[in-house]
Symmetry: D2
Subunit: 420 residues, 4 copies
């Protein structure tokens, strides 16, 4: 707190950063440099993009920090392409769009969906992002006004918002690219380079030139593959279910007045349930939130592995040593013919009925590679007309990619023993 | 503790693991699978190979877990090459050499040199590695006997030890390769693929065929570049110096009876000073050591950022927000003409004389790309003779690479303010 | 003729070859080395895999020589995987399968389909390949017996033939991989590495493990993309049409007794029309065929650019300077409303009616990514059952990939002027 | 001749070209597009950058066409970096520098040094390049004035010339990059990306920032490696020596009035000996020169393989079937103790004394990675001073890289038999 950020006044902050994915990322202005340098953004260094995915793909350790820089890089590439095609883009817009994409994930907690759903269930991460952006804007005397408008979708030129948030935004392009690269799932490469060269603006919409149709299809296909191969990988779903149950149990114990090991900032969230209003009314809550990262979660799991509560300590020990729950997929919700034998097994392993839900978990996942209705990817035909991708292509596969695929799963602790 | 590792008995544990560096890594036997699966090895998932280096290279987040798997992969590649050249290698030796290289880094603590030198100053990490390997061997009923001999250098066929530990070992090949890949410093690529194709055994020594001379030179050159560009990068040295001072201060406060936030396992090491004998005499000390990883350090730094001790909290806050010490290199040890003004600056910033050493640090680094004397890289000439690389080459650069380069540095907190 | 191949007797011919695609390719036996060294195989150095495709993708210059080596490399990788999964494969089979895939394209002429259809219209290239393999087998005293059986599909273990020729053969895997790499169409990457790891043999059929389903789908998708983006690229079709017309005109002139510049070997084919029987009856015809490569075609086109026949010289000049015909695609065969105006334009440009077909060309192309009926890609389910890929997957896209897409095109010389 | 290039008038010629090395290359202006489209530049499609090198590295088939495009791409990247660092560069200069680098190799014949030294020994290729650039400038009404000044070094701002021709020019960066990529010699990667980011202009000189010192050293090292591993590879030197002797013999026979098969354009050069004055005085000589490419050479070698002259036909047959001369390197010029036995062997093989020089060839090669004197690579120190690289570095290796390494070789036809 007592540190004066005198260096912030130094001019000429141009910097290039090594990136295994793109070679180099340039930070293109002093404002962008100051944002990267801010503690809110530096926190993202300590939050992995893919949470627990390294349990399956040991290379998938990249952070939200790196992802946000990469998305900023793609934004600058894409805007340059748009300029070269004759679209007028002001320097201020260029900077604002990069700022917006840089900050778009600020409000994510560690292990995003796991933590957010259990520990801060009442406040969506987008709302926290916006609160942090507004706080930054205040600290920076309004220099983020346009960036926030672009982020919220209120900036008059709508295509900027589509570049930040749509089915073909720079966020998605970078994360698919980066997740594919670091997981080593090379088949997930989306060809971002070519896609970006094909972008244009027409009728204030972000569009793809007709000759980029195969590139879009490839992008959707790669995205689908990444879902099934990485994001919804069975082992990862199992580990996430375990961490979710750990957090549920910890909160339950906390609510019962149990004393749990935790870093100071994490303890605050473990022992309270905050609303969005709290974030705006308690001046130091954002700062406490900014104290949360992956280390708090792992330190807790390690600190709890010897906790007297058998449910908590068993789950922690199993996760730490990668002794994971079994998981099976089903096309229909699994019935008693599936669940009853598992319950019997767990009961025999010492799991009491009231704790059964911690060791036998059901869930569902859905995925469609291309959600046609909500926000189509628009193609500019040589005739000038704008078509939805699925209508522009005469290939049968794009239509197939719009189908929603739904799967159900059961996840259970095969090697559990609760006989203390 | 109460978990039974029943799954360990399942047969047929072949597995392939995605690796962005090599494509796929195969785990070639049940023994190797069991080693990877063991909590001692799983801990390495939570220890980064390059410690703080992501502060400069945001992609450099790879773990010792991934590195050890990669080294095992190169070992199997190299042994296969040796076999194809007519060297007899038994399956048991093949497995043992892979086991040895897999486990060679078990005893590293988090942020290795930083932590090890301050927190466990009396026990070198190699000694802990050996203790852990012996403990594993006990658990596995002697199945690691040969691997341990190879690791220690007592196995009769000496070239196996050279593949595990020498100037051209698989450890080094993987880490240079991997560090170059993840940092994005592409110039550091060592051409491991070709080097391995050039390996052979002659007179029980690991050698390189004469036609691989350029590859060796390239390897040494790349290694040198990695030192100056990555391992000894100014900003990284500065961050390491800061973390070292944080740990010194924490131990000082702990020794004075101060109550410091820490995970249970880390607290044990923070409040005690263990010897190697302790590791063999206290049955649970290895387990506690196995509880230490990067998360303990970061959780502590975060937990201490509001500690009442101004030295500790200032250093923690600065490191967390990447507000790093300035650093300068010198060819001679810097004298008072350099240090006096810095001391004056720090005094003016409120640093009292007795804490000056926390904010003004001097040190030195040395590097020679090829240490000719100790353990030469041997080249098998077409004539059959074995020569030291530097003698085998008629190019003037290899000789130059044996020179030791020494640099001195001063590191100081330019933006510090200790006026609480 | 008078050269004695004494070096053929030297032992120990192991060799590794640099390959930008796979790193290194090893030649695994003396027989394979001798095949690579033979003039029949060395000719493939001078025949590009993709014919005229460098007119669109300037990097796509790779030869059938390199492709055949690459396919041999994949074959050895795949066979090793099969071995590791417990399939017994003899060394002789290993060598024969590699020999067969190495030689599978021997009988291709330069600019394969273009030249073969016009210059040797009565003999399919597979028949010439077989004639050359038999001739080699004779020269090598029967050492290719098994390889030829595998190639023809008469070897008892059928899966070997499937690895040489099927919808998932090593030929296809290498060429898709290699064509994608050299054209720079990165979206066409098929993930060969992973596909090969998923191969197995069941009921004497080459199969893919169930967990490789996404990899197959990705493979089919990438293949489809390569067709539309590379093999059937409009500009390439146009250039091929032009070269075809050049060859038609040259043969027409030759048939009329015109004296045409040509290398001696090419002249023989230009002035005669051979049958398969000729290849077996005229002892030197194979040797003359082996004298044909890309250089003959380009040298001819250059030699003919000043030929007095205006049709021939105009077409050659246009192709040499990349002044290509226009081309348009249609979903239905184009009718007179399309063709009549083009004919009028060409007539006005001086093209006489009897030569109209040289400057106005129609054609059709079809493509289906997965030809389900003829030769399914079999998936081994965890249950042990073998299913056709399209039945094994519950994803809607594989079904879509079996659809046949048919397109029609018109190609015409927009910038032609025949007023000499 | 009768083709009207009407399409040249079409506007909006922007185009992107796939490049496996850089992803995509953009053609940035109509002038550049017209240059690429011109027959002078299209010829480069048919001339390989590395001549015969594919005999060792089968992937090394890339053309001068692709190289020139790549160099143009790097030029645009580098100029953009210079702009971002505050150097004013006009659009016209940007275009001219790209045009100059695009055209810098126009005057190369096929198999450059081989052909040029034997077939056009009196006219250096640079002089032909200039003649072609001037001819283009005439056709384009002076639009290449600045480009030609930059190429010749007469343009007032000297750093442009240094970017076209110096030890750190874009030509060299692209060819080292590209040759490394296509040969598969990954160790030759120069890190062009980073080098370019480090460029600046100071005192009208092209300089590298001090923090790029390691990158320069890496560049020089990679360049040295490429020389010994690729450009001066023994097998390649041998093949080049053979092709040189083929051309010598062909000219000798031609001078004696022998009738030799050749394409019309090649025949003109084979039967005449032109001076630079001829190129300016004979209006169609440039056009004939533009008719020469790799196909002429290979077609000739193939056409001559049955020529009655035993020297010519033997050499051609051997080269075609990769039955190459043996070659040995020496540190001193080899004396009679080396040559006499070889001569005896060849005499026994039927080589008459008067033809001995065709089958027993001596030569020398020299290489220094960094030619310090002639044209230093300048480093801008943080102090602002400009230093020669060798003086700016305190590493001992750069000094070593300035040493000139000289080697002598003997090359002879071990498997020759001239008994017809």
């Amino acid at each position: 707190m007592f540190i004066t950020f005198a260096k912030k006044l130094i001019l000429n902050k141009r910097k290039i950063i090594n990136d295994p994915v793109y070679g180099f990322i340039s930070i293109g202005s002093d404002l962008l440099y100051d944002l990267v340098d801010h503690p809110y953004f530096q926190r993202l260094r300590r939050i992995r993009q893919l949470g627990l995915a390294d349990i399956v793909y040991p290379g998938a350790l990249h952070t939200r920090f790196h992802h946000a820089l990469g998305a900023m890089h793609l934004m600058s590439q894409a805007l340059r392409v748009l300029q070269e095609k004759g679209n007028l883009i002001w320097e201020l817009e260029m900077e604002a769009a990069q700022a917006a994409i840089l900050l778009h994930d600020l409000g994510h907690g560690p292990f995003s969906h796991v933590l957010e759903s259990v520990v801060i269930p009442d406040v969506p991460h987008e709302a926290i992002t916006l609160a942090m952006m507004k706080d930054l804007n205040r600290q920076m005397n309004g220099r983020l006004d346009i960036a926030i408008q672009m982020f919220e979708g209120t900036y008059p030129r709508r295509f900027f918002h589509q570049m930040i948030s749509s089915q073909l935004d720079m966020d998605r392009m970078d994360y698919l690219n980066r997740d594919s690269f670091y997981s080593g799932v090379v088949e997930g490469a989306i060809g971002a380079d070519r896609l970006i060269k094909m972008l244009d603006v027409s009728q204030d919409q972000l569009v793809v030139e007709e000759k980029g149709l195969l590139s879009i299809e490839n992008f959707l296909h790669a995205r689908r593959l990444m879902y099934w191969q990485v994001y919804l990988h069975k082992t990862l779903l199992s580990a996430q279910a375990m961490l979710t149950q750990i957090m549920h149990r910890a909160r339950e114990l906390a609510a019962n007045g149990d004393q749990l090991f935790a870093t100071p900032d994490f303890a605050r969230f473990l022992y309270n349930r905050f609303t969005l209003a709290d974030f705006y009314q308690q001046p130091d809550l954002l700062e406490a939130f900014n104290g949360l990262d992956d280390n708090d979660v792992w330190a807790s799991v390690k600190g709890w592995k010897n906790h007297p509560d058998l449910v908590l300590s068993t789950l922690c020990e199993m996760l730490l040593n990668r002794n994971l729950f079994k998981i099976s997929f089903f096309n229909e919700p699994p019935g008693e013919e599936v669940l009853a034998p598992l319950r019997a097994h767990l009961t025999a392993a010492g799991v009491p009925a009231e704790h059964m839900d911690y060791f036998l978990i059901t869930g569902e996942t859905t995925n469609s590679a291309y959600a046609k209705e909500q926000d189509p990817i628009r193609v500019k035909m040589k005739s000038g007309a704008l078509l939805d991708t699925a209508d522009a292509s005469d290939l049968p596969t794009i239509e197939a990619l719009t189908k929603i695929v739904r799967k159900y799963y059961v996840c259970w602790g095969k090697n559990v023993s609760l006989r203390g």
